[in-house]
Amino acid sequence: MPKVYIDGTSIEVENGTTILEACEKIGVEIPTLCYLKHLNPAGSCRLCLVEVKGSRLLQTACTTPCAEGMEVTTMNQNIYNARKLVLELLLANHDDGCFSCPNNGKCDFARYCMDYDIEKSPFPRNKEFPPVDESGEFFTYDASKCILCRRCVRTCAELQCNNTYTLKGRGHETMVGLPFNQLFKTSNCVSCGNCVSVCPTGALSTKSGKKYRDWEIKKTQTTCPYCGVGCQIELHTKGNKVVGVEPLDGPANNNLLCVKGKFAYEFINHKDRLTKPMMRKGGKGSPLEEVSWDEAMSHIAEKMLAIKAESGPDSLAGFASARVTNEANYIFMKMMRAAVGTNNVDHCARLCHASTVAGLATTLGSGAMTNSISEVVDSDVILVSGSNTTETHPVIGAKMRQALLRGAKLIVAEPREIDLAKQAEIFLQIRPGTNVAFFNGMMNVVIEEDLLDKEYVENRTEGFEELKTLISEYTPEKVAEICNINAEDLRKAARLYAKAEKASIFYSMGVTQHSTGTAGVMCTSNLALLCGKIGKYGCGVNPLRGQNNVQGACDVGCLPGDYTAYQKVVNPDARAKFEKAWGVSLPDKPGLTITETIGAIESGDIRCLYVMGENPMLSDPDINHVEHALKKCEFLVVQDIFLTETAELADVVLPAGSYAETDGTFTNTERRVQLVCKAIEPVGDSREDWDIINELMDRLGYKNNFSSSSDILDELAGTSPSYGGYSFERLKKEQPQWPCPNKDHPGTPVLHIGKFSRGERAIFKPSPYIPAAELPDEEYPFVLTTGRVLYQYHTRTMTGKSEGLTNIMGTSFIEINPTDAGKLGIANSDKVKVASRRGEVTVEAHVTDKVAEGILFMPFHYKDGPANKLTNNVIDPIAKIPEYKVCAARLEKF
């Protein structure tokens, strides 16, 4: 720990601390244009020059490490002159149209020029600049405002790992730009905008940023509403309008964002937002008409109470939402259980990670990511299966690539040649639906070649003999045939994973959305346990949750068999606890899942469905069937921010406030609870979700004592062991990961250290490979698999409102291998008709090597050409998750 003196003040710092960092610690500001916390120091702007006693020349504070006894002077005439000269040289080639610059008011360069008394550069301009690149959807690049700090180049290369920018030329001709004559539109740019966020001048600026000045806006720290990464963001609002988003240094994102988080905020103030409650006054078939809150609420309460009285509480069901806050979900679940008296509450986690919750809870005792997002950067080997991480969880994808830059090795087992596959040490292009065979094959090699962690298996697991017996059948040759891969590659992958000191598994829907989803999930934990890779830093089994608060919605009990924190409704002790806390008696039978509810509506067992913030009309499998059921539903209430496809069928529609209009918490995929803060007032007459449910509960005859969502979190913390330590007050300062049982507990970044959640030992649950329920045949010769794209999100209720995203990727498509396309006479961009046993859609063909022969891929986001008209609603027997990832299909030119 060297001790240094900065302007006479002594400070002890960690080894390797730079002078700039030491100055930051004691509050001495050093001007810099190129330094950024998460980048390797470059020392390129030469503005942070300081005097170090004994050095002949001035030193750059950002690159010089502190040494014992160092005496640093941060300002004197010499330093002032040197810095001023640097600024004057930069200013010579800097466009001085500050008046119209979007960065006006927040420009670091302008501020430093002011600090160093510079109005004009004494040096002549000696550089010509290319025209402004306005080809991108969201931001522009004006080289004449660039001061060559290279923050954008380095952020793109070192953090986003996309390498879009390059430095062109040398000497005074050096310029930041894109390779050759590329424009953003023709380059590999993914529009994440992280370069824009770090640009100290107006060279890179958002297109929307030209319409407001920094001093006009209010800034609110909150959590991104898209995927499960839980990026911390700052919402910029002007009046009651959101005008921009900046990344914050959150524990999960470290100043990074993706295109959706950074730019897709147009939906918040969109003209299509629901602003008034609506009702079909003339009954089914009549149009939705605007009504007052009072009229809507009393109608809902009346109907719900009447149906309950006639057919019992189990004739009502509710779908909670992975999009809304923990507090709204908690109160929704409480309404269904305490005020209605049924356990019929579920949400779309059923459709994505129900198999994770069921599978990992069985083998390990907890159905969530075992480790933290930030650890991936330190992993030695990363195994990705069933996750197109760079598109679905872009910031985690970027962190995986950061790990690769540090020398980590990547194994990708995926049906498609996703972007990550290009950087993989081993890429195994497995057939969709063969994950179980793949993992069994990995384990076979590990056992055959004696690569298992014997001590770990002996001391911390049970069921090994059973596993060994089953696994022995899955020789690499056999698995290679099932998965259509190379046996030697499988062996290499198994060795690489097993021998690594820190190896992590990441998976997502590609593993879970199968009729054997739970078995697939258990296989991931079998492999990790076998190699002793659970309960350790940089390792683990990491299911990536797809939505901002899908983890939270599960945690707070929006599951038919669970109260908060996975306390079972069938457990009499848990039930007694909630009966006492809520002062009512509670049903002891688990309720219906989403998939079962749809069936129960058709059979007439469910008469009333309350949907909060979900869109089953696009998201559920076999939507023809869903539509039929929802149309049949006697009383359908939808509470949402837009008139979704589902809301269009509703009897009553309630306008809810978006995430920007509410206070609460989201729990991200790594179990981290983070605050959501109100940036604007609910638009129109919309109201916060929790507030709507709170009033409805009152009308249903159950009185809560909540005056804010903070009160709800307090009640949640009081009844849920793993959430015991959370309160709004604490979350403002720190965001611990659950389990966090009390207010002094620091949270749990790595689960299962020393002991598993389920007890002393984890259990192996071996599963045989069972083929997907529907395999290709003569009539339907292709395997169709579905997934997401970077530029859209779920059913597009939010991203569909972004003009830029629509321009980039606004219509549905199907990917087909060139050989298959050739046989069918299909060219790229041709319209094709795709059919399965359940329906048919017409979409555009993308002919690409990304998919293997015999395989088709479709994104599921789109209303025109909805993939879920085709998908199979056969479900996993344990988790009841549908098999979205495999169905048989045929296709022909339209």
Binding site: A157, N163, T164, Y165, T166, L167, K168, G169, R170, L178, P179, F180, N181, Q182, T186, S187, N188, C189, V190, Q423, Y791, I808, M809
Partner: protein, 169 residues
């Protein structure tokens, strides 16, 4: 969205040859300059965008890194150049010994200005920094061959030689 559509079109067989060279050095960023030099010889003395893309893909190096190197070093060009590149040294010793006059002679014989390529695609005339043969100043390099000391009068013979070589080939 991110598919690159190259607006330059190098011959497919040339690209294949370059790919074969680059493939030997997958992941070897340190070999990039060497690969670029070889590629340039195969592709009309230029690293055009499509050539760079092939190299980037085969070596698993970002295109931006390839572009960075190509634009930094003077011996690389992104524009197609002649079969023979004439590099006249313009450093002090050669300058003192009359390099300027030699350049003028080249310009006159070839009918182009410094920096241009002859219409038959045979010669490109450039200047360069010291080539390390000051004892032979003024010196000129034509592809890998060094000439010097060279007088303005000799230029026509040298050029004729190259033209003949071309015809024989």
């Amino acid at each position: 969205m991110t598919e690159n559509i190259s607006n330059c079109c190098t011959d497919r067989t040339v690209l294949d040859k370059i790919a074969a060279v680059a493939r030997n050095w997958k992941g070897r960023k340190d070999m990039l300059i060497e690969v670029l030099l070889q590629a340039q010889k195969l592709a009309d003395n230029a690293i055009t965008e499509d050539v760079a893309e092939v190299i980037a893909k085969e070596m698993s190096i970002p295109l931006s890194t390839v572009c960075n190197a190509v634009s930094f070093y003077a011996m690389f060009s992104t524009e197609k150049r002649g079969k023979y590149i004439i590099r006249m040294c313009k450093s002090a010793p050669c300058h003192v010994k009359g390099a300027e006059d030699v350049i003028k002679a080249f310009e006159k014989v070839l009918g182009i200005s410094c920096g241009e390529t002859t219409s038959d695609g045979l010669f490109t005339l450039e200047t360069c920094e010291c080539i390390g043969v000051c004892d032979r100043a003024p010196a000129v390099m034509i592809n890998d061959e060094v000439y010097g000391p060279i007088t303005p009068e000799e230029v026509i013979n040298i050029i004729t030689n190259y033209r003949q070589r071309r015809e024989e080939a």
